[in-house]
C-alpha cells in the first residue's frame, strides 16, 4: 500500500488542525491509519480543552457588564479622540440667533445690580463703626501721624545703634547724637 511506511509527525498534525484547510495527502493517510487518526483526535481533544478553559476564564473576567462598560469607554474615547466640535451655522431668523442677545441683557442687569450693592456697602462703614469711634477717638489722620512718628523714633534709635556698631564711629558723631538725647543731669540739676 502507498504511504504504508510513512506516518505524519505531530507538527504535521498540528499544522493540519491549525490551518483548517484540506491536506489531501494527510487526509488520505488518516482515512485508513487508525493510530494516526487517534493521535490527531487526542491532540484535537487537548487543544479544544485548553481553548475551552482559557475562553471560560476570559469570559468570566469579561462578563456582559464588563463588555458593556468597555463599549461605553470606547464610545467615550471616540468622542474625545475626534478633534473639533462641529458647531451649527446660525440661520437668519432662527430662534437660536436671539439667544445671545438675551444673555447679554441678563449680564448687563446683573452688573447693574452688583454695582448698586457695592455702592451701598461703601456708604455703610461710617454708620457701622465701632463704639470707640463714636466716643471721640483720634481721627484717622491723627492715628496716621502717630504711626509715622513712632516709625521715625524707631529709625533714629536704629541709626544710633548702627553708629555705635560701626568700627570707625568718630567721637564727634556720637556727641552730635548725644545733643538730641535728654540727659539725667538736666532733670536732676534744678532740684538742687
Amino acid at each position: 500500500m502507498i504511504f504504508a511506511e510513512w506516518h505524519p509527525d505531530d507538527e504535521r498534525l498540528l499544522g493540519h488542525y491549525a490551518d483548517r484547510t484540506a491536506d489531501q495527502t494527510l487526509d488520505q493517510h488518516l482515512a485508513w491509519c487508525r493510530p494516526c487518526h487517534r493521535r490527531l483526535s487526542a491532540m484535537t481533544r487537548d487543544l479544544e480543552g485548553w481553548h475551552l478553559a482559557a475562553a471560560e476564564h476570559a469570559d468570566e473576567a469579561f462578563d456582559h457588564q464588563r463588555l458593556a462598560a468597555q463599549r461605553r469607554g470606547i464610545q467615550q474615547r471616540l468622542g474625545a479622540a475626534v478633534p473639533g466640535r462641529v458647531l451649527p451655522f446660525p440661520v437668519p431668523g432662527s430662534p437660536e440667533r436671539h439667544a445671545p442677545l438675551a444673555r447679554v441683557a441678563a449680564a448687563v442687569l446683573l452688573v447693574a445690580l452688583a454695582g448698586a450693592g457695592v455702592f451701598r456697602v461703601l456708604q455703610m462703614p461710617e454708620r457701622v463703626s465701632s463704639p470707640a469711634a463714636s466716643r471721640g477717638a483720634p481721627s484717622r489722620t491723627t492715628a496716621a501721624v502717630r504711626l509715622v512718628r513712632e516709625g521715625a523714633d524707631a529709625a533714629d534709635l536704629e541709626d544710633i545703634d548702627l553708629a555705635l556698631l560701626r568700627p570707625r564711629t568718630a567721637v564727634a558723631e556720637l556727641r552730635a547724637l548725644d545733643e538730641f538725647t535728654p540727659h539725667v543731669r538736666d532733670i536732676v540739676a534744678p532740684r538742687r
Binding site: 490551518d19 487543544l47 481553548h51 478553559a53 482559557a54 475562553a55 474615547r77 468622542g79 473639533g84
Partner: protein, 181 residues
C-alpha cells in the same frame, strides 16, 4: 473633517464592529497581558486606534487580521509601559474568578473544572512570551499561522515552530489531567 451627522453614523456603525469583535479581542488581550484591567485598556486602545485609522484599512486582508495586528501592538505597548513601571504582574489566580451562579454541575465537578482551568492558565503563563503570543492568536483568536504571520510580522514558518513548541510543552505539562477530566 467629518460633518457631525457622518461622524455620529460612523461611530454607530463602528459600535457594531466593536460588539462583533470585542469578546475575542478581550480573550487575546487577557492571555497576552495576564491582567484583566490591562487587557480591558488594551482592547479599548485598539478599537480607538482602529477607528481613527479606518481609512488606512485595505480589504486585501480580513478586518479581523488588520484589527488583531492593532490589538497586538496595543498589548505590546501596554506590556512595555508595564515593564517601565516595573509593576508586579497580577497573577491569574488573583483575578475575579468566581464560577457563574446557578451552574448545574456538582460542587466536585465544578472544583475539578476550576482546578483544570487554573492548571491550563498556569501552564500557558509559563510559556515563553513568543510562544504564548502565537498560541493565543492561533488558538484563542482562531487565526491560522498565515494570519498570525501577517499580524505579528513573524515568518509563517517561525509562527508554526512557536505554535508547535507551545503545544508540545502544554501537552507535557497537562498530560496528567487527561484522565481526570
Amino acid at each position: 473633517m467629518m460633518a457631525r451627522g457622518e461622524l455620529s453614523a460612523a461611530r454607530e456603525a463602528f459600535d457594531d464592529i466593536v460588539v462583533r469583535h470585542q469578546r475575542r479581542a478581550s480573550r487575546i488581550a487577557l492571555m497576552y497581558l495576564r491582567d484583566a484591567a490591562e487587557a480591558d485598556e488594551a482592547v479599548q486602545d485598539a478599537f480607538v486606534r482602529a477607528f481613527t485609522r479606518l481609512e488606512t484599512y485595505r480589504d486585501e486582508h480580513p478586518f479581523e487580521v488588520w484589527f488583531t495586528r492593532i490589538l497586538v501592538n496595543a498589548c505590546v505597548d501596554r506590556q512595555r509601559a508595564r515593564q517601565r513601571r516595573a509593576r508586579r504582574l497580577v497573577a491569574l489566580e488573583d483575578l475575579a474568578f468566581e464560577p457563574a451562579a446557578g451552574r448545574s454541575a456538582s460542587p466536585e465537578r465544578r472544583a475539578v473544572g476550576l482546578a483544570w482551568r487554573e492548571a491550563v492558565n498556569a501552564a500557558v503563563e509559563r510559556l515563553p512570551a513568543r510562544q504564548r503570543e502565537v498560541f493565543a492568536l492561533c488558538h484563542l483568536g482562531d487565526h491560522t499561522p498565515r494570519d498570525v504571520s501577517m499580524m505579528t510580522g513573524m515568518r509563517e514558518s517561525t509562527v508554526r515552530v512557536h505554535l508547535f513548541r507551545a503545544v508540545h510543552k502544554l501537552r507535557a505539562a497537562l498530560g496528567a489531567w487527561r484522565d481526570l477530566r
